[in-house]
Every structure is written in C-alpha cells, then in structure tokens.
Symmetry: C2
Subunit: 190 residues, 2 copies
DNA sequence: GCGTATAGAATGAACGTTCGATCTAAAGTT
DNA sequence: AACTTTAGATCGAACGTTCATTCTATACGC
C-alpha cells in the first residue's frame, strides 16, 4: 500500500483545509477562494495538483479512505482469531470516526453526493463485505446473505459514531463491548 | 398532526422538484434556475414561499420528515404488542426508504450538511429513541443505554436501505425478518 | 537553464436574490 | 347584480456578487 507520507506537503495542506471547510460549510460552502486561505496556498497551487474541484474531492475521498483503512488494519495486527478481529474491526473504525469526526462528516456527504459516481453504499463495503463473508464461509457466522451482516455491522458502527459526534454521547469501552457482544450473538449464535 | 394536503400546490411542486435535483446533482448542483425549470414555477414564486435557499432546504426537510413519520405510524395502527411494533417499525422505514430512495439521499445529505443546525444524528432519533427506551423501561429489552439500541436498530435500517438503493440488492421479506430476528435476539434475549 | 512549483490578478459564467409588473379571486360597496 | 378595491400569488428580467478556472509572472531545484 502507498505510504501516506509520500504525498507532497502542499497537497496534504489542501486536503486538510478542505476537510475543515467541508465539515464547517459543506460542499457548496467550500469555495476555492476560501480553500486557498484555509490551506495557505494559491489558486495556482491547487490547480497544479488537481485538475478541478471535482477532481480534488474525488482524490480527497481516496486520501482519507486510505488513511482509515491503514488505521483499521494497523489495529488488526497480530489478531488471528476471527472473533477477535470481529471485535477489533468494529472498535477501530468507531474510534477513528469519533476521533476524526470531520472525516466521517466528509465521507457521509461525499457518499450521498453526485461526486460519488461508483454509487457504492459505503466506503468499506468492499473490505467489510469480504470480512463478513469470510466469517460465513468458515462457519464462524451463521449462514445467510452477507448483506444482512454488512447492514448490521457497518450500520451500527456508523450510527454509533454519528450519535457520538452529533450528540456528544460517548459510548465507553464497556458500552462498545456490549454492543458488539449483541451483534456477535445475533450473527454467530442464532 | 397537520395534514400534508394542506400545503399549497406550488409549494409541493417546489419540494418535489428540489428532491429530484438534490438526488441527481446534490445541494451544490441544485441551483435556483434549475429548480424553477424542474418545478415549473418562477423565481418569484419560490421566494414568495421561502425567504432563501437555506429556508427552502430546512422546510423541505421538515416536509419529508413528516411524510415519513406519517407513513411509519400508519403502518403501526392496531399493533399493540411491543415485539410486533419492533418488527413493524423497522420494516415500515425500510420499505419507505427503498421505495423513495431520493428521500433517503436527501436526508443523508441534509443531516451531514451545515443546513442541519440542530446537529441531530438522525431525523428519527427522537421517536425511535423513545420507542427503544420504552422497551427497556418495560423490560421487553435488556437494560442498557438506549443509545446502544438506537445505533443497532437505526443503523441497520439505514444501512440496509442504502445497500438496496446504491447496490440494487433487495432484501426480500424473509431476509428482513431474519435481520430483525437477530436484532431482537441481541436486544431482548441476551 | 529548464522543468516543476507557487503566486495572485483577471475572466466570464453562473449564482442567489430583488423588484416592479401582472394576474386572480375574494371582499366590500352601492 | 355590477363595479371597485385589495391582498396575495405569480411572473421573469435585472442586479451585484461570487464562483471555478485560466493566465501570466516569478521563484526554486537540479
């Protein structure tokens, strides 16, 4: 996987500035002139790295997506047991989103916007679908359509993160453990 | 509850036109000039009913929110058993979203945008939080923080709907029943 | 000294909004 | 019943602003 540190300094500054603005003012409120001020770069620089605003948003999505993926897989190192990974994946994603709420807000706005051409229901359907299907195929999880598990697993992470971000209600370690327990029971034991 | 039919014809035309455009082009792509063509009204008419584009979007959110609420409570009529309502609520919302995907897309874009001042994590946190808390208080559901159940319940509806809308994978009646069974098991029996 | 990186003024298109004109239909007046 | 008044609804051209993008010029790195 490509190391994130390889990105040019200015390109990262643009991503970070845009993240702030999209979270604060939304897509329609994130103008190029605001962005140049926020990121301390000139218009010329932005158009040196990106061919258009559309292009910027799409690359920005890939950038943060790869950051999240790197974070999640970093948390999985050394975890071999399926059940252990089932718990760790959920927690890793929840922690990333609650610590980086602007990334979550950006994702949610991006995915439901026309920028998202692929029309993928979620940035992680791929990796998480595979993970849950693996669980079914290896009989860790009860057999059924994997989409059912994607809905339960991903849905609860995203919603729990949003509840935290918007409502300032933090689920502590025990709450999270309980939630995943309930998911696991439903998916592995019934 | 206010009857939806009471809205002036033109106002509804504006809402419906805006819904099309937001689903197709997003907030930033929904310009007033496009909207006047889509809804077959003049600019003057739009500004007669709404003081600004912001105002339009906020009222539009309330409009569709009340439509969804009316649909869900309509499906609940005569259902008295808590478990029955637990199943019906989930199904009613899922069916509404999958039949009206543009409403779901609009909600998701709105909620994560700066238009949403209240910063409510979801349009239904209120009603559904109350419903799930009722389940806990009356011992239909195992005692815990209601937010945990909101995350599981609402998260799975929204994600399942999105999987259907974006991915064209329909969960049939049996799939849905199974999903809710698993939710119920985790929340009521463990 | 040549290609890449940065700057910021310039540009024309498109934006949200305003405004005065016109229409409609009910209320008031005789 | 016929005429007048009035207030709300509708229209679309016009306005000033802001937008994404382009262009030209300057600095840097090899």
């Amino acid at each position: 996987m490509k190391d994130i540190k390889e990105f040019p300094e200015k390109e990262i500054a643009i991503y970070e500035g845009a993240l702030e603005l999209v979270a604060k003012f939304g897509f329609h409120g994130t103008s190029m002139s605001l962005l140049t001020k926020e990121a301390n770069v000139s218009t010329g620089t932005v158009y040196h790295y990106f061919s258009s605003k559309d292009d910027l948003m799409k690359k920005m999505y890939c950038y943060y997506r790869s950051k999240v993926e790197a974070h999640v897989s970093g948390q999985l190192e050394g975890k071999k047991e399926y059940k252990q990974r089932f718990y760790s994946r959920w927690k890793a994603l929840y922690l990333y989103y609650t610590r980086n709420p602007k990334v979550l807000q950006f994702f949610e706005q991006f995915i439901n916007s026309p920028y998202n051409q692929e029309r993928s229901p979620h940035h992680f359907t791929g990796a998480y679908f595979t993970f849950l299907k693996e669980g079914i195929d290896n009989k860790y999880l009860k057999p059924t359509k994997p989409e059912i598990y994607v809905a339960m697993y991903m849905g609860s992470v995203v919603m729990a993160s949003k509840i935290n971000v918007f409502g300032s209600i933090l689920l502590d370690e025990k709450d999270r453990e309980l939630l995943i327990n309930k998911l696991w029971y439903g998916m592995a034991e019934v």
